[in-house]
């Protein structure tokens, strides 16, 4: 039973403020004033310790002076563990009674078996309370038992000695027993819980021994506080219960102390349970220090407000924490499970963290990636050096292309977006996004390859919509049809189709829409200039991923030339048969004629010889073509005079004809040069022969002129001439002019051979356009540096 010397009795009526003094109190009011139960008051009244007037069966009054007296008596026998220092001013009981209204709990002794819990904020307060509690017991000749921490025990004993108590004598006399809380607790504990048997053995026997002496016993214990501090709340409560049980057996007063700092929100339940295990609860010193009841009320109100505010703040904080946790969880999930590779690299280039996508991209488990230098995973060392250098210098990277090597050795093409997280300007780590574009890169490379193939194709490759509108147009198409892509993209493909084939396109499109493919379809198309060409077209439907037909591809090859060539080859065979067999026919016929006549015939033999020579030339021409095409023609050049050479050929040609008049115009007396005589004769014979063959008669003018670099020789006749459209083809192999007056005879290789021979000499050959009639063939021959053509004219 503890008394507070600072207590002041309040006005007896709760409604009355401290200003009104009451003369008497009811039992309930007295209990409230004393901070005890009404049963305690009744007990004191019945035992005669507290005087009360029974005014009726329901009315009991306790006079003010009786209550004050009771308080005074109690004070003598009471220790206030948290009371002011004994040196403080003593307050009259009347005052206390008058100011007692604020008290709701009290350490007033209710009996020798009281179980009080003291909360404290500072060790100093605790020691003051305990030293008063134990000191009063020792001074009153009672027994004091202390089971405290070693530190508290030492300080407590120092205080008691300072208060003039002879502890050694008290100990010797069994009046003072001090035990180490930790050691004693250790003796009680079995598997983390205080054992009832051991408690009875260790503590019970100690208390029993003290109680048997007949003296009052006061005990102070801190073992529960130790358990609570360990977080072993169940054990603390269990130990409190054991103490309570012991109090049922032995009458002793027990004072427990818990540091207030030992409680947090989580131990609120423990706090309540600890309080309920004790008969009396003494608040910590910040409350008990207040003397003024009004101040105490204000403090309670303040504490209530603070508690409410803290509860609210706590609830708010709990909500915020939950939200924060959720938000953090979401963020963690986002970065950890994002489909984009993410990593952090420290300033030293080592990988600090990487998410799942990054690890999966490269195929490494985290432990083989994190902690390694990022450069180990890059294919191009200068690239990663550049990246780290830029980041270190504060640059941000956007879409930086790099190649990384996966664990399986494959190369990953990535786009890096990164910057650096800094604290106070210090490089903490990079924020690096690694975007995998390998598939895209490979697809793009494949697309580029395909585009290059399409573009380099000689064939026209055209993409069209199902409606027949052009969407793609390669350079082959440009070459074949003459339109540029810019001109035709967006145009209907009908642009290329001749008017006389109106049904072709609808039929083709209908087949394509049915998914059919049209292969090597030979047809005619119109070029930009309106020229008809023969093409072989393969047309296929283009399907998307879902196998839907979304367009049409057409690959067209211009087979006009091939057809011409094929026709030319057919014609050539016929021509060769005709040209070779005609002389053979004449030879054979002339020979058989002589056989029939059985006589020598000069004319027949002339014919045989002439036709044999003709055959020889034809064979020679064919062999020349073969040699020229095989690149095996070799010129046998010698110094000669072109004027003389041309003059000889003109004379020979004139000898063959009466229908033509040949004339040589050569301003120079001589034009020396180095040429293959036989080959130049061949060229001249060909040109002169053509003139005689194609022009039925008239003049044939051969001219030889020179300038500083070359000689120019031309052969002009008065024949029907050459249609301009045929002019470029004249020098092609197996080409024969179509419309000529005297018929086309020969293999169609003469001009081709002539061109090859002129070009072998370094010259050129062409047909001069003639506005009206006749034709003029011209060829040039380069003159050597030693020749001086102009001087000799």
């Amino acid at each position: 039973m503890l008394a507070d010397r600072s207590l002041h009795l309040p006005p007896a009526s709760p409604q009355a403020s401290g200003a009104v003094q009451r003369d008497y109190y009811g039992v309930a009011e007295a209990a409230a004033v004393l901070g005890v139960s009404r049963m305690s008051v009744w007990r004191w009244i019945r035992s005669g310790r507290l005087t009360a007037a029974r005014l009726g069966p329901r009315t009991t009054r306790i006079w003010r002076e009786d209550l004050e007296r009771f308080l005074a008596e109690q004070e003598r026998d009471t220790i206030n563990p948290l009371g002011n220092s004994s040196g403080g001013p003593r307050v009259a009981p009347e005052e206390r009674l008058a100011d007692q209204g604020a008290r709701r709990s009290s350490w007033r002794e209710g009996g020798s078996a009281d179980h009080v819990v003291q909360f404290y904020e500072t060790d100093r307060s605790l020691l003051e309370a305990v030293s008063a509690y134990i000191g009063a017991a020792l001074r009153a000749g009672q027994i004091g038992i202390v089971i405290a921490t070693d530190a508290h025990r030492a300080q407590l004993e120092a205080r008691l000695r300072a208060d003039g108590l002879d502890l050694e004598a008290a100990q010797t006399g069994g009046q003072y027993v001090a035990l180490s809380a930790a050691e004693t607790l250790a003796q009680l504990m079995v598997e983390g819980q205080p054992d009832a048997g051991r408690f009875a053995e260790v503590v019970g026997s100690l208390v029993a021994g003290a109680a048997e002496s007949g003296r009052r016993v006061r005990a102070f214990g801190e073992m529960v506080a130790l358990l609570a501090a360990e977080g072993n709340h169940a054990a603390a409560l269990r130990l409190e219960a054991l103490w309570n049980g012991l109090q049922q057996v032995h009458a002793f007063s027990l004072f427990c102390a818990y540091p207030l700092a030992g409680y947090d929100q989580a131990s609120a339940v423990l706090f309540d349970q600890v309080c309920s295990e004790h008969a009396s609860v003494i608040p910590a010193e910040s409350y008990t220090r207040l003397k003024d009841p009004d101040a105490r009320l204000r403090e309670i109100a303040r504490l209530q407000h603070r508690a409410a505010a803290l509860e609210a703040a706590l609830a708010q904080r709990t909500r915020l924490e939950a939200r924060l946790r959720r938000s953090e969880q979401e963020l963690r999930d986002f970065v950890e499970n994002a489909t984009e590779g993410l990593h952090w690299v420290g300033e030293d280039g080592r990988i600090l963290w990487a998410n799942r996508a990054e690890l999966e991209l490269l195929g490494y488990p985290a432990e083989e990636y994190i902690g390694r230098h990022i450069a180990e995973f890059h294919v191009d060392q200068e690239t990663i050096e550049d990246i780290l250098c830029r980041l270190t210098n504060g640059e941000e990277l956007h879409g930086y292309e790099a190649r990384m090597r996966a664990k399986d050795g494959s190369i990953k093409y990535v786009l890096i977006n990164a910057n650096v997280y800094r604290e106070d300007g210090r490089f903490i780590h990079t924020r690096c996004f690694t975007h995998d574009m390998t598939a895209h890169k490979l697809a793009a490379a494949a697309a580029l390859r395909l585009a290059a193939i399409v573009e380099s194709s000689d064939d026209a490759i055209i993409g069209k919509t199902l409606e027949g509108r052009i969407v793609d147009w390669n350079s082959g198409a440009e070459r074949i049809y003459g339109y540029t892509a810019a001109e035709v993209v967006g145009q209907p493909i009908a642009l290329l189709i001749p008017d006389d084939r109106p049904d072709e396109l609808p039929a083709i499109m209908a087949r394509l829409r049915r998914g059919e493919r049209i292969e090597h379809f030979e047809t005619e198309r119109l070029t930009k200039t309106g020229r008809r060409i023969t093409v072989s077209v393969t047309i296929s439907p283009i399907r998307d991923h879902a196998d839907q037909i979304i367009g049409v591809s057409a690959i067209a090859r211009d087979i006009s030339e091939r057809l011409v060539l094929e026709r030319m080859q057919r014609d050539l065979l016929a021509m060769v048969s005709h040209e070779l067999r005609n002389p053979l026919t004449a030879i054979k016929g002339l020979a058989q004629l002589m056989q029939r006549r059985g006589a020598y015939n000069e004319r027949a033999l002339q014919g045989i010889v002439a036709q044999t020579n003709h055959l020889d030339r034809l064979v020679g021409d064919l062999l020349d073509v073969a040699r020229l095409e095989a690149g095996r023609l070799e010129l046998q050049c010698e110094p000669l005079d072109l004027v003389a050479l041309v003059a000889e050929n003109v004379e020979q040609a004139q000898a063959q004809t009466q229908a033509h008049a040949l004339r040589l115009e050569a301003p120079a007396a001589s034009v020396p040069g180095c040429f293959d005589r036989d080959r130049l004769n061949q060229v001249l014979q060909n040109l002169l022969g053509n003139a005689l063959k194609y022009a039925p008669g008239g003049e044939v003018v051969v001219s030889l002129t020179t300038d500083s670099a070359e000689a120019r020789i031309s052969v002009a006749d008065e024949g029907p001439g050459i249609p301009p459209e045929d002019a470029p083809k004249l020098f092609e192999r197996f080409y024969r002019a179509t419309a000529t007056a005297d018929g086309a005879k020969g293999l169609g290789i003469g001009l081709y051979v002539a061109r090859m021979l002129v070009e072998a000499h370094g010259g050129r050959i062409w047909v001069e356009p003639r506005p009206r009639t006749g034709c003029e063939f011209v060829f040039t021959l380069p003159l050597g540096t030693t020749s001086t053509p102009g001087d000799e004219t």
Binding site: L573, A574, S577, H578, L580, R581, N582, P583, L584, T585, A586, I587, K588, G589, L590, Q592, L593, R596, R597, N601, R603, A604, G607, A610, Q611, T740, D742, G743, A744, K745
Partner: protein, 126 residues
């Protein structure tokens, strides 16, 4: 037509090769034929204005108006199939070419001179 009036058989040789003209002329004249020559179909048509041949020896491949074109013109003018034709060709399809224009005979160049003379004899003595 004067040649027929004298009972002499006339052969028109249409070929663009001068030496073939000369060879056939000598051989046919040895056999008593009158020979008329032309270098192509056009000249041959001109000869028809002056002569009425009993047989035409026709080269297939000629400039300007070739063998088939000439045969068609003959048909148009009513001379063919009245006048038998012997086709001369340098390639292997002599028979089909002969049939194509309804020719009576054909020879592949270089032909056997006696064969030609036999065919002409047969055609002129029927």
């Amino acid at each position: 037509v004067p040649a027929e009036a004298h009972g002499t058989r006339t052969v028109l040789v249409v070929d663009d090769d001068a030496w073939i003209h000369e060879t056939l002329t000598m051989a046919l004249e040895d056999e008593g034929y009158q020979v008329v020559t032309a270098a192509d179909g056009q000249q041959a048509l001109a000869q028809l204005d002056r002569h009425r041949p009993d047989v035409i020896v026709l080269d297939w491949m000629m400039p300007t108006v070739n063998g088939p074109a000439f045969a068609e013109e003959l048909r148009r003018r009513g001379f063919h199939p009245g006048i038998p034709i012997v086709v001369l060709t340098a390639d292997g399809n002599a028979r089909s070419k002969a049939e194509q224009i309804g020719a009576t005979g054909y020879l592949r160049k270089p032909f056997e001179l006696p064969h030609l003379l036999e065919q002409i004899a047969r055609l002129t003595h029927d």
